[in-house]
Amino acid sequence: MRKGFIFDAALCVSCKACSAACILENGLLPGTRSLFAWNGHALPLVNVINLSMACNHCADPACASGCPALAYTIGPDGIVIHHPDRCMGCGYCTWRCPYDAPKINSATGIIEKCHFCADRTTEGVGPACVTACPTGALKMTETEDFDGMLPAWFPDTGIKPSFIIRNSETESKPHTVPSDNETHESEDEELYPGRLASEDAVRLKKDWSLVLFSVLVIAAAVMLVISGLSGRPALAGSGFSGMLPLLLTACAMAVSVAHLGRPGRSYRAVLNVIRSPLSREIAMVMLLGAVSLVSWLKPGMIPLAVTAAIAVLTVIAVDLVYFAADRRFSLRLHTGQAFFTALYAVTWFTEPRILFIIFSMLVAVLVVMRYGSADRGEPQRTLYYIRAMSIPLVFLLIYPGNPLTDLFATVLFFAGLVADRLLFYLDFNPPNIKETIKEHFNTEYEKERDKKREDSGLS
């Protein structure tokens, strides 16, 4: 039998007792159980939707499978437990969970999550949020099968949440009299029933070290691939350049350890190579470092093809970390992904030139396509300009050998790659079900509004 929550939307009045109870019982971060209210300002065309949600203790939990440190376990009753003493604070589960259940506590550096009030459950007392609910809207249940217990508007995430929602028919809204003294529509963002959170700039600020990490890894990999293809170090000659891939990999590892909430537990990063893309990525980067070390100390000992293959697999491992969290197809077409960036960089260094030109054309098409559909906040716009500027640089190659245009082209090219990598981070948007639900209802609202407009246009 699996334990799970049942939520009755008809009984929920958005009082937030469940959130408060969670804080009081567990001292967890506010928002560990949160109340989601769509159309909180009650625009009359659509109903108000309340939803109280914490961890859904999924049968196929994305947090647990993705955790590189094996900090999650699953109890016999299906409860997904996070163990603080095993957590290194990488935050990967916050990307993986579509329900926004794990939260990183900046004070302790580690994750906090609903554990179904494990201590109370062993005492035979329900979770604090459940016993707190004054209307009985939130209950717990035990059942074998939670399939098909969610309304159509609750997106299927494929990870089998142990969650049941009842009485959430969205069309039952009060008939309001008089109806004409309030607005039916609003273009104003402030009144829009569900505003979508835009935290891009914040995210980039917080995760800049991850961008740096991947740029360093890609650079190291590119150098090793080039040396593999050409049979000599990427940068001609000196001992320093032979050591460069090793240096880059070491820096990348340092940056990645520093970014952890608990750097002291960084050794745990590779405990879950079987299931966690993040563990695999770290393992591959370590392997890349080892190969770089050997190549520097004993050039030629490892066959160049093997070196190149490890480099390629490493950048693919980097990409898989992101693809496993954000499964949208558009991200797979992104020119800022590690594999594509590395490949493109390789064409810059290698002959024939036509490869580079073909890649540049491809990039131009993909970037323009993306620009058309992207939402353009402040950081995006600037990055797009930088990216776009680097695209026509093929023309600078008409007269190769001119030191000035060569230098300019090189700088421009790499700035474009970095900008693209940053854009990849901004476009990378691990699913958050609350945003998906908002989008769904916003579409419904727009439909209603347009219908209303049409009606009034006819009359």
Partner: protein, 674 residues
Amino acid sequence: MKEHITVCPRNCYSTCTFRVFTEEGRVKRILPYEGNLATPEGPCIKGLAYLEREYSPDRIIYPLKRQADGSFVRIGVNEALSIIAERLTTARERRGPHSVLFYKGSGYSGLSNDIAGSFWKLFGGATTTYGNLCWPAGLEAVRLTLGEVKHNLPWDIANATLIILWGKNSAETNVQEMIHIEKARQKGARVVVIDPRRTLTADKADLLIRPRPGTDAALALAMARVIIDRGLADTEFINRHVNGFDEFASSLEMTPDKAQEITGIPASEIIKLAVMAAGAERLTVIAGYGLQRYTNGGQTIRSILSIPVITGMIGKSGCGFTFANLQSYILDDVKEPLSYYPDPVSDKPFRRAISMATFGPDFFALKEPAIEVAWIERGNPVVQLPGSSEVRKALDSVLFKVVVEQFMTDTAALADIILPAKGIFEQADVVGSYWNPYAQYKPRVADPPGEVLPESEIYWRLAQIIGLDGRAAGIPAPEDYDAWLTERISHTPGFVREELMQKPVIPDQNEHPAYGNMKFETPSGRIELRSDWAVNLWGVNPLPTYEPLKDFGEEHLPLRLMTPNIASRIHSQFGNLQVIRSVVEEPAWEISVADARSRGLRSGDMIRVFNSRGEVRGKISVSARVRSGSLVFPNGIWLGEGGGVNRLIVPSETDMGHGAAFHNTRVDIEKLVP
């Protein structure tokens, strides 16, 4: 952990029973008590917050004394009580006992509160307040009409086929009522909310009627007229039980068209609503308290009450008028609402009284003796009384002030001595409720922290220091308190004492359905649509009428200010707690879309709200929950949190019952340029 059944003693409909679990004299856990059928699920967010409230680092647990520089310093209990005793006796000797003001709010309910009255009588009297900020206009309106103030068991709503929530926002102020409403809905009942605001309760309704604030009587009377004109009234019921029907019927000049002008509700919709109400098999009308905090509040409730009366919906299951149920107050000496009225006979030698609703003006109008010492307990008048700037000025003018409090409220901050108030788990008591039908015993389950003394002990020791015989006056010695309480509940019939001390009990005298025996304690013994008491006591029309609101010379101000209660507070209590703050959004001034547009305001803009009494500043939030023409800001928010909205409220009484007409207030707003 040890388990106890206890009750929340706040000024709230629900008066939830809940179980607490203690360890080493400290409450560790709160769980629902399923045995109370009115509140079988969890307590509300505030009830849960006791886990923080009672143990908050901000709680005042030692007596504090104000120093010359305005800051407070901890002093011993004996020192504090000696200073207070000295100031009290000096004031009494110099200017008589009426130079002492005893002010109590509604912050804690229980029989132990009576001990304060015993002390002040023993002291020789005091200046006190009469009236009540909350509900007396409606209480009196119900008493005038039905003789007593009671209603069916809360869970009986589930048997209604039509529920009209008239100005009641149960979702925020009586959250467990939503359980019973939802049960009725599941059985097919329709739910109508009548409220200018689209409240969280209205989110659950089938129909929301949004009249202009203060015009509910016009709507109700127009409905009554439609019902009577169309022959939908219950003639048999009326003939048997109702006095003054013919006069009422012929007085009804309020046509739906006229009501449309006044309320803003289309006449056709008024007719539909009236026909729906009259056609309902079992109609329950639930009236809130906000709609009677107007200068026409009592008449409004009488008008609304006429609907279930003329449709014969009184005295049956699933039917009735739910305003307040005083049936659990079996142990009170003076029954509400009579306890709110200045009593010219029994109180006179002891008591000089000023109106709570008009405290500021009344205070400054006091003749000799002026107030020299003020004692304030269970309340936060600096934030909660209407016209609170003047209230603050009044208290500022008092030379010596004692405040009994748990937290540094705006009122406590004015004190010369702060005595720490007991927490809810720290003294046994018996608590009644105005919605929950159970009489409830609240055991002592936790040790008071620091040097907290329950008020009973404060008064006992004070009497000793002053040299008064507390015991003879009915003030129990600390060791006798439990015996005092047991004695207090030993002579009232209707329940077994031992049972009450174990769990909530519905006293035998609880009548369900209310008025089921069709006896009404009115002068005529029948339901009185026409009431002579109304004329004699309050000088209002003998019949229910619509009286336009008084605007006190501020007709020109465009917005009607509504200051409702919200789910996260009981008036000014609970909002200071971390847990509440971490889950509840900061309060903002809510304005309608239309009013925001016409003023070029957007959510987040800073505004100045003003009228002739002053101004308050804050953030605006544009919302379709607000009706155009009104501005909404919750009451009870402390000055330091950007609250103090009562500074704008005109101090005025309701038409009956000495209530406070909070919502008559008009204001204007102005955008502040950043």
